[in-house]
């Protein structure tokens, strides 16, 4: 980044320090410094003219410990010049970021010039006065049926995706980033990829190509082989860019951060290099406040247009939801979307575990005047029926399906329909909310009317709910599986033939 320190450094040249006591791993110890502050951004010039960057970790009398973002590999302590910029890392902000692809440090990797902006802002951000916060409201529609209907994302909310390795969380994050909208209002996405493998990074670029070309996307890609310290900057950069796009330019901005576990591991690595006392699973004791300093940057501001919505994706090592990263994230965020290995094994995408997922602010973004009058009732009824279906499934494991009551058996049919017809959708399919809710109705109507007690009678009448939905299906013979339908019919004929 060529212009981070623009506002801080003098055009006539500042003092550069040349006495390097030691280079160790990512750390450089500089001697004889004066007036250097903690977390100050550092520009390091090598003898070859190559520039690297760093952050001040520690200052003690005349000694400064600098963490080199690009690592100290290949550096000769005798030929290094270190300039302190007098302030924390700043980046230019503005719409110049839209349509650009940069690395985790904000340097372009799309072949273009540096990103310019008329103002520069410290990436650390500043906490929002709680009294200036406007409560989140109005939905962000993701085009993913299961998310929109059951865990509606609300503008200004922070809603994490909890996943485990091997599940398609990156696909889901990219799909949400590619197709989310804010009801026709100006909308942008900042996607911060952290610790991505190269195939993953290239997948994300491809998936978001259209949005990027439309000038609605900022893509920051920190790959797995990039310097680990850079990974700590990536989400902060993303949020700083998003805040300006939202609160100055009046856009609704969705910040997708994947994978936050990778970020937390980078934090652990840096903490270990600093020699800090480790806490749970060797993560630093301040993991909670560090994560909060990121997640709490979302929201809406009184008297300002726009909103920042955060969708962090994190993988739970070994599927352990009590692991410090999901555990602490869960304390800060407003709900979670949980992906399930079992649903994934059934070949359903997205493998959302609806019963474990929750959007705590859903009521502020869905329902009459926001999405559709029947939205909240449908969601409640779907979840209630699903909970019953899960109990029935457990019972069936014990006593066998044949011993279940007809109503219980209808719940199993409902669960199957829920997964196959409602949750399952193509990875490139953006499902409009109306279609999602209509599909939800179709799925609910596989249950007897008496089981749909959470839906108003008028709506049940309007949708033709019946006490014997199974009979209706047989009568009409309408089934999505045509080949099965034919098979069933020919079996009926065989039976009739035998009677004759």
């Amino acid at each position: 980044m060529s212009d981070d320190c623009r506002s801080a450094s003098s055009i006539w040249g500042d003092v550069e320090y040349t006495a390097i006591r030691e280079l160790r791993g990512p750390l450089a110890v500089v001697e004889g410094v004066t007036g250097v502050g903690w977390d100050e951004f550092v520009r390091i010039t090598l003898e070859s003219g190559e520039q690297r960057h760093g952050l001040v970790l520690e200052v003690d009398r005349g000694l400064a410990v600098v963490q080199v973002l690009e690592d100290t590999t290949g550096m000769d302590p005798r030929g290094i010049r270190v300039a302190f910029t007098g302030g924390p890392l700043r980046i230019p902000v503005g719409p110049g970021w839209l349509g650009r692809v940069c690395n985790g440090r904000g340097d372009p990797i799309d072949g273009g010039p540096p990103v310019f902006g008329h103002t520069s802002v410290a990436v650390g951000g500043s906490p929002i006065n709680p009294l200036r916060r406007e409560p989140p409201s109005e939905p962000v529609l993701t085009g993913v049926g299961a998310v929109d209907a059951l865990t509606t994302l609300v503008r200004g909310q922070k809603l994490p995706v909890f996943s485990t390795a091997g599940l398609p969380h990156l696909e889901l994050a990219a799909q949400i980033a590619a197709q989310s909208t804010a009801g026709g209002e100006s909308f942008s996405v900042v996607f911060a990829g952290m610790g991505l493998t190269h195939p993953d990074a290239s997948f994300v670029r491809d998936a978001l190509e259209e949005r990027s070309a439309a000038g609605e996307l900022v893509l920051l890609l920190n790959t797995a082989d990039d310097p680990v310290i850079e990974r700590i900057l990536t989400p902060r950069l993303a949020l700083t860019i998003a805040e300006e796009l939202a609160f100055t330019s009046g856009r609704h901005v969705l910040v997708v951060m994947s994978d936050m576990t990778s970020y937390a591991e980078a934090l652990r690595e840096v903490s270990a290099a600093r020699g800090e006392i480790p806490a749970r699973r060797a993560y630093p004791g301040y993991l909670y406040s560090d994560l909060a300093s990121l997640y709490e940057r979302c929201g809406r501001l009184r008297g300002r247009p726009g909103s920042v919505t955060v969708l962090p994706v994190l993988t739970m090592p070994a599927g352990d939801i009590t692991h410090p990263v999901p555990d602490l994230t869960g304390y800060i965020t407003e709900g979670q979307i949980v992906l399930s290995r079992e649903t994934h094994a059934l070949g359903v995408y997205p493998p959302v575990d609806a019963l474990s997922s929750l959007s705590r602010l859903m009521r502020k973004g869905a329902g009459p005047g926001r999405t559709r009058a029947d939205h909240l009732d449908i969601a409640a009824q779907l979840l209630a029926a699903l909970a019953r279906a899960r109990q029935v499934r457990e019972l069936a494991d014990l006593v066998g399906e044949a011993a279940l009551s007809p109503t219980d058996r209808r719940h199993l049919v409902f669960e199957e329909a829920f997964l196959r017809r409602f949750v399952d959708q193509r990875r490139d399919q953006s499902r409009p909310l109306d279609q999602t809710l209509e599909t939800a109705w179709q799925v609910l109507l596989t249950l007897p009317r008496s089981q749909l007690s959470m839906l108003p009678a008028a709506l049940l009448d309007a949708h033709g709910a019946r006490e014997d939905p199974g009979a209706e299906e047989e009568d009409s013979g309408e089934n999505s599986e045509r080949s099965m339908e034919y098979g069933e019919r020919s079996m009926e004929y065989d039976e009739r033939g035998a009677v004759e």
Binding site: G112, Y493, E500
Partner: protein
């Protein structure tokens, strides 16, 4: 008991024969009807299945075609965008090169000595009066004390000025 005359047997068996024949006919008709119906149904089923397969194939073909078209469009868009960004970067690099050249020309300006004097004053303010000041062959100067250094070469000054200009560079490609 006597053996019945053949014509009597004939007469007695007639109803049985008639009935057997009728039953056989009826069964044949029923069988034929059923066979016809089953054949018709099988045919209907097969036709429906063929239609489904065709529709499915058509849908799949359309989806594949659309996906391929989307890929081609995405590739073209990406190539166009890459060209545009490369052109911008080249314009920006050219600007930096020209600005650096123009600043270097300051060496031949009549007031160059006074520029050096001001730069020397600046470096001594930062590093103290004992600083060693070396005039750089490319223009400007570098001042040093042990462990510290100030770079006031003309190239460095030009680079810093360009960095400060920042967003103004965008006028190079702004419509």
């Amino acid at each position: 008991m006597r053996t019945p005359a053949p014509d009597e047997v004939e007469a007695a068996l007639e109803p049985v024969r008639t009935e057997l024949l009728r039953a056989a006919h009826a069964e044949t008709v029923a069988l034929l009807t059923r066979a016809d119906r089953e054949a018709a149904e099988l045919l209907d089923g097969a036709r429906a299945e063929a239609r489904t397969i065709l529709e499915e194939a058509r849908r799949e073909g359309e989806a594949q075609g659309a996906a391929a078209a989307r890929d081609v469009r995405a590739r073209a868009r990406r190539a166009a965008r890459a060209h545009e960004l490369t052109a911008r970067r080249e314009a920006y690099e050219e600007l930096r090169r020209r600005v650096t050249e123009r600043v270097r020309e300051l060496r031949n300006a009549p007031h160059y000595a006074s520029v050096l004097g001001r730069l020397t004053g600046h470096t001594r303010r930062l590093l103290g009066p004992d600083a060693e000041v070396i005039v750089h062959p490319e223009g400007g100067l570098v001042a040093r004390v042990p462990g510290r250094r100030v770079d006031c070469t003309l190239d460095a000054l030009a680079a810093r000025a360009l960095d400060r200009a920042g967003a103004e560079a965008e006028t190079l490609w702004a419509p």
